[in-house]
Symmetry: C2
Subunit: 226 residues, 2 copies
């Protein structure tokens, strides 16, 4: 039968599509690790020892010094981080701080590098996952450079919703402070912008947001194409 960790691998996009043989090989070198809210999984500048994939809970990738933090993106269950640093064996450019308690699947970077050399399925899958991340980052850069704070926030909220039409309720993936930085604005500005969005049917209470009509909110964003 399968290795006992294979079921965990299947929950992770990076691994889920791989053939059984590859899965087993990876499962043999993988390990599970619990982490708790606000803790750092690793810090900018360190050498990569592992690829982190999240089974439960999530983290936020932040770069830059304290007081000048730049939140890159939030990651949650099924997603993986730091493939690039691990593949190249270069120091992390960012730190990862947990946004909740959770559990991550760790695969040693050296092993993964080796699998990439030997196993087409693994290498191809890495290329695909990296490609998807790349597109996410490009979208973010385009957005920062062309849209104002309100539009960016609206777009972010829409992307966090699990639907595309009608109304939706969502939970912010981290503290408001972190969300603000992810959007490239300050917490104060987020607070005010959120208030402005009320006239577009966005109600917020704590970290839960209710969008009355995703279509109406989209109209705000798409008024400028991009």
């Amino acid at each position: 039968m399968d290795h006992p960790r294979v079921p965990f691998l299947k929950k992770v996009a990076l691994y889920s599509g791989l053939p059984a043989a590859s899965l087993t090989r990876i499962a043999e070198v993988a390990g599970l690790q619990r982490f708790s809210n606000h803790g750092f999984l690793f810090r900018e500048g360190e050498e990569p020892d592992f690829i982190y994939s999240f089974i439960e809970g999530g983290i936020v990738l932040v770069g830059g010094a304290d007081g000048h933090e730049a939140v890159i993106e939030f990651f949650g269950p099924g997603e993986s981080v730091l493939l690039p640093a691990a593949i190249l064996g270069l120091p992390y450019l960012v730190s990862a701080r947990a946004t909740s308690d959770g559990q991550a699947l760790l695969v040693p970077a050296s092993k993964l590098r080796q699998f990439i050399e030997d196993d087409v399925a693994v290498a191809a899958q890495c290329a695909r996952v990296l490609s998807r991340h790349w597109r996410g980052l490009i979208s973010q850069i385009k957005e920062i450079k062309t849209h104002g704070a309100a539009e960016r926030l609206a777009h972010f909220l829409i992307s966090q919703a699990d639907k595309v039409t009608g109304s939706a309720t969502l939970i912010l993936p981290g503290m408001k402070k972190e969300v603000a930085t992810r959007l490239g604005i300050k917490p104060e500005t987020l607070s005010r912008t959120l208030k402005k969005l009320r006239e577009y049917g966005v109600e917020s209470e704590g970290d839960s947001i209710r969008i009355a009509s995703l279509e109406r909110l989209s109209a705000l964003v798409t008024s400028i194409p991009g």
Copy 2:
């Protein structure tokens, strides 16, 4: 002997490290294409037919609508663009406009996808190149979110220089308008910021920039870590 296009492949980082067998297979489906300044190689929203690698001359990747353009990055000889879109078979998120006359090596996206499935060397190499791009984008996002216009410009100029110490002269990789958008500012602001940098030893004349001391300029940037 080798396929006649193999020497061209060797000039491209994506292909240069590949074993001879892989190179030949790629060379057989690759083609050369001339392009001229200001022309579009492809536009946002189109379906990817090729991977473009530059042998000579360069392009700029831009996203967003006219008047709200976001320049993502400049690319020159030896570099490749649009691997991600081609690998995933999804529409381009950006357009490519030539910043000079030049010549590109085109590999059909469908063929490359197939090589990635079959050939570990190709797949692994794609993963590595994507990883490097990823790191470049992360740096850019960190920078936009944490540094002001002057620091970003200074850093950009330093990265364009071929040295790390002493003085340097460089040619901007595109029109000032494009450089401005790459930095997330307007042409007017670039003009003014460039003037401010004179007191840090930066002289500009047309599209050529002279930096008196890279160390001095670095000091401006690293005053805030990140």
